[in-house]
Symmetry: C2
Subunit: 409 residues, 2 copies
């Protein structure tokens, strides 16, 4: 039995014996960026992923991008033209969504700890607020009165079930996210009494799920829950956000999500919704799935050390730039991201190496004893599947090295 392998990395061609992004060899991109390390995102791969989603999902479903996965402004501007809406998780993300040309009618805001000022921003912008607590109802009421605007709201529901196989469970049991399903009727009454503009529900049960059946089941149950709760709503449901949770394969042994299975099932959910909630459009909200595989992290080997028989490629990048790849972001047991040497050695020689960064800590590890093409000082190391929760989710200030750069190719 062979060891588990990484799922194939697709979309990155080679040019001149070297990995390319958008057809441009990586060494040329590095020269254009000006220095390493950097993140590079492939515009065409993002577009292709959205097209694949459009092809697989029923045409009536609206596709939203969750900015938190990657808020790079140029990427947002690109995505803003491809998707039907943007989802934000902070006041600054809201500003970025509007700057990117997002239509306020199709921007929504979720998050368990929205501040008063953030809620006021949302009302002033005319976006949809996913309400997560009774407090937000009260605050939005006051803000609406003060601004002379009717806040647009949906209720984020903490469902009574968990999404199976989810990388991160965000619904079911006691949770800080959303309002418990059994409390939603009271929240709806409160929304009606305070004359907020009710538009629908947001039911999101987890993220980074690679099992199509689990996602399908969550969508079915999400619709069922919304139909039940709609009986208590002050007005018809216009929007039903079923979340996302579509995972991508990071680690050895993981397989890509069967998107066509999810799409076919969602067509049935959409048909049922058309009957049961006739005025509602269904929203699928994806972040990682849209951008995660379109991005790479690139750093340069600055030393090659052999310590007691093991080879260490010491790079100018590391944990401070890419926390998730170091294994310190939600992983219980550290596993390697897919990593490669950009300059495939002409000799095709391979060796087992560890890729580390410049930090004085054993946590600063990008690849732990992986078999890679033989490499030397000056070569570029690539960490794949780095388009989501990479740049923005890393502690750039740790040890005061320069931050990474970002480029959209």
């Amino acid at each position: 039995m062979s060891a588990p392998r990484h799922a194939a990395v697709e979309g990155f061609a080679t040019a001149g014996g070297e990995l390319a992004v958008g057809g441009v060899p990586l060494s040329r991109i590095a020269a254009r960026v000006g220095r390493t390390p950097f993140y590079a995102y492939d515009r065409q791969l993002v577009t292709a992923r959205v097209q694949a989603l459009r092809a697989a999902l029923p045409p009536t479903v609206r596709l939203h991008y969750a900015i938190k996965a990657n808020p790079m402004p140029a990427l947002l501007s690109h995505l803003g033209r491809l998707v039907d809406g943007l989802d934000v998780a902070s006041g600054a993300e809201l500003r970025a969504a509007l700057d990117a040309g997002g239509d306020p009618a199709e921007i929504s805001f979720a998050g368990p700890g929205k501040s008063h000022d953030e809620l006021a921003q949302a009302v002033a912008a005319g976006i949809l607020v996913n309400i997560e607590s009774h407090r937000e109802i009260e605050l939005l009421h006051g803000i609406g009165e003060r601004l002379g605007l009717r806040p647009r709201v949906a209720v984020r529901v903490n469902p009574p079930y968990e999404l199976k196989s989810s990388g991160m469970k965000m619904g079911g049991g006691p949770k800080p996210f959303g309002i418990d399903a059994e409390e939603v009727p009271a929240a709806l009454a409160s929304i009606a009494a305070r004359r907020l503009g009710f538009e629908g529900f947001h039911v999101f049960s987890g993220s980074q799920n690679l099992r199509a059946e689990a996602i399908c089941e969550a969508q079915t149950r999400g619709l069922e829950l919304a139909v039940q709760l709609a009986r208590h709503a002050p007005s018809p449901v216009l929007s039903l956000n079923l979340g996302g949770g579509f995972g991508i394969p990071y680690f050895p042994g993981e397989q890509p999500l069967a998107l066509e299975v999810v799409g076919a099932h969602l067509a049935g959910v959409a048909s049922a919704a058309a009957e049961q909630l006739p005025q509602a459009h269904i929203v699928i909200e994806l972040g990682r799935y849209i951008v995660g595989e379109a991005g790479i992290y690139v750093c340069r080997i600055i030393d090659r050390k052999v310590s007691r028989g093991e080879v260490f490629l010491v790079t100018d990048g590391g944990l401070h730039h890419h926390l998730a790849a170091s294994g310190n972001f939600g992983q219980v047991i550290r596993k390697n991201y897919p990593v490669a040497i950009a300059h495939a050695s002409s000799s095709e020689a391979r060796e087992t190496v560890s890729v580390v960064g410049p930090l004085c800590t054993p946590l600063d590890l990008l690849a732990d004893r992986m078999e890679l093409a033989a490499a030397e000082v000056g070569d570029l190391v690539v960490v794949f599947r780095s388009g989501a929760y990479g740049y923005s989710a890393s502690p750039h200030g740790f040890l005061s090295h320069p931050p990474p750069l970002e480029v959209l190719v």
Copy 2:
């Protein structure tokens, strides 16, 4: 049998029924800072810790501060007057050390991936470089020739043994840190041939160790190793950096390090060193131990939610400001830092709550079902033992919320 408890938090008094830092009630500090969340460091506690170290350690030992634990400029200026030297881990830390008034004669630079430019900075500044690879010897030689300066160097040694009970092992076995002990004679010959200014050794085997015996053993073995290697040195050893590794108790059941045991043992090591390496001074390099317990992280409760019987205090701070307290920085199993409500409730009522942040992820957890004083919206939550690897080691950009502030009181 009762559950393990956190070691007592010492040094933070109460004033007016409220936690105080430097004698100032926390609500007043919050008003002075201007907003929450923030880190507050107590100047007097830092001073007291250095005094405790001076009292416990033999007088001939030089005490260095490792800036990476907390590089806040005001704190560095304060510490620069208290300790004998500063240790840096990047070019930016070197600039900060010099800005703080550090004497270049007593600044040293360690790190497995120093860039050419960083090495040139070090030579130009006249500080001591802890050499970690053969490549650095070559680079320093070229830089010295070019600048017309003799680089000051010590050899960082990867010892042939591991430090027992260390939170993070940084020596023994194959490691990216330092030069394997068995390779050091060749490195010393190379240093001599290139006429670098040899000054000594740096032997550091691990960090965050709470067992005095393990630290004592590492110090004994560090000296033995240095004495052996000194036979191959081109000139007498002037400096022997035995690292630090002194831990602080973060989690329930952990006990403070028996500093007096380490100090008494180190007196013997220092006596032996005076005979065996008569020109050498011994350096102990500490970061976390000096500042970790002098700092707190403070955030404000913005919502109080009850979900299926569990209470969640939703704050304006979280993982993006304090990654380590969320359990995502080197912990395998998440444990709670010591956390408290600053405003002790007058009723003394207590309840079991989870403290979460505003991020849309279940990772954003500062306290998992802890018994705290009953609290309400507006109250301040304090995470103790946050003076080291807090602010600078956190992903401030994650979800684009404002960064925390820092204040030295």
